[in-house]
């Protein structure tokens, strides 16, 4: 990958990896152990009251397409299955990290997650809940930048404001790497599956031949639509152009835009009131 040396140089400056909390790491270890069942994992989460509360808050945040509230971890495990549970754990921890990076990034991320879910369901993509998680995490590289690379972050912000650039163009201009690369790097360190990591890496650089291209296309469009609806703050005030190849990969044309956005809009009303803090 052409950006690899830039990325390695940048991440070598990060003294400590943005960390997952100990309780999440312990459950991740349990998940990786042979013979662990979803029930065992559910029980381990349920024993940790603070973590249970966070997990249920996220499950009920409109993040998944559940129409009735999920009241218990056992119920969440049944509904989500084992694979989704792994991503959910990381998402739970990441939600508060994203919220602390800069105001407005979490509402933007949650909007992107909801639109990604709707898009996945409408276009018949596999595992819409995993794509929703990718939507929540798609800008986690901005959190890494804001919290672990303060000098670079200031330079990016300055370029965004002085030259009215997209955040990613300001990153490319000042660092040669974008938050998409940084985020994918972090999530790979956190052992998230490639079907979550690769679309995040490609959400601003669609490549029809890259792995999980269809999911990357969905994330690319969900981010654009989240920006169009104006919920939260992705760190700049512009809209990236949709890549026609991404729309083609999804089978989305001009007549699909309005029904898709109308369905999303109906599910964003709580976010406009501004109470979507992480």
């Amino acid at each position: 990958m052409k950006d690899e040396p830039h990325l390695q140089k940048l991440v070598s400056k990060i003294v400590r990896l943005p960390a997952l909390p100990d309780n999440v790491l312990a459950i991740q270890r349990l998940i990786r152990a042979p013979d662990t069942t979803a029930e065992t994992v559910g029980q381990a989460i349920a024993r940790d009251q603070a973590l249970s509360a966070q997990v249920l808050k996220l499950v009920n945040s409109g993040f998944y397409g559940f129409t009735t509230p999920v009241a218990s971890i056992a119920h969440a495990v049944v509904l989500l299955g084992f694979g989704a549970l792994k991503t959910l754990l990381v998402s739970t921890a990441a939600a508060s990290l994203i919220g602390s990076a800069f105001p407005g990034l979490y509402p933007h991320s949650l909007t992107c997650a909801r639109i990604a879910f709707i898009l996945a369901r409408r276009q018949g993509l596999d595992e819409p809940d995993e794509l929703s998680a990718a939507g929540l995490l798609h800008d986690i590289g901005k959190m890494v930048l804001a919290t672990h690379l303060p000098e670079e972050y200031e330079a990016v912000k300055k370029a965004v404001h002085e030259r009215n650039l997209l955040f990613m163009d300001a990153e490319t201009a000042t660092m040669g790497v974008t938050h998409a690369d940084l985020g994918a790097w972090l999530l790979a360190q956190w052992r998230l599956p490639a079907q979550t990591v690769e679309p995040i890496r490609r959400h601003h650089a669609f490549d029809p031949d890259a792995p999980f291209a269809e999911r990357a296309a969905a994330l690319h469009l969900a981010d654009i639509l989240a920006r169009a609806e104006g919920v939260g703050d992705p760190g700049d005030s512009r809209i990236p152009r949709p890549d026609p190849r991404a729309l083609a990969a999804l089978g989305i044309g001009l007549p699909d835009i309005r029904p898709l956005m109308d369905e999303a809009f109906d599910q964003l009303t709580d976010l406009y009131s501004g109470d979507a803090a992480a």
Binding site: A228, P242, P244, L254, M261
Partner: protein, 100 residues
């Protein structure tokens, strides 16, 4: 907040400042809601103008205009892309729906 001739004030308007008569006598405190009878009494007392808080429909119109201006700024330069133009049209309709 804006200052209006008394005749333009409406029942339900809320005073943004303390109100005194032309003789300098305190008449009503900041935050008081004007009723039809209070407006009539103020007229008798010779009060010519009142300073009221922005009416909520004005606030809502202003907020909508801000949201539309932000939207226009976000989409500046995107007019040539037909998909983005459609996305913008729908997003604009959604802004209007939010403030209806």
């Amino acid at each position: 907040m804006n200052t209006l001739p008394l005749q333009k004030a409406r029942p339900g308007d809320v005073l943004a400042t303390d109100l005194t008569t032309p003789e300098g006598v305190f008449a009503l405190g900041k935050g008081a809601t004007l009723s039809a009878s209070v407006l009539a009494r103020l007229d008798k007392m010779g009060v010519a103008s009142v300073t009221i808080r922005s009416r909520s429909d004005d606030d809502s119109a202003a907020a909508m205009n801000t949201a539309l201006a932000q939207l226009a700024a976000r989409f500046a330069g995107c007019e040539t892309d037909p998909i983005l133009a459609e996305i913008r049209r729908v997003a604009e309709d959604h802004v209007r729906l939010r403030f209806e």
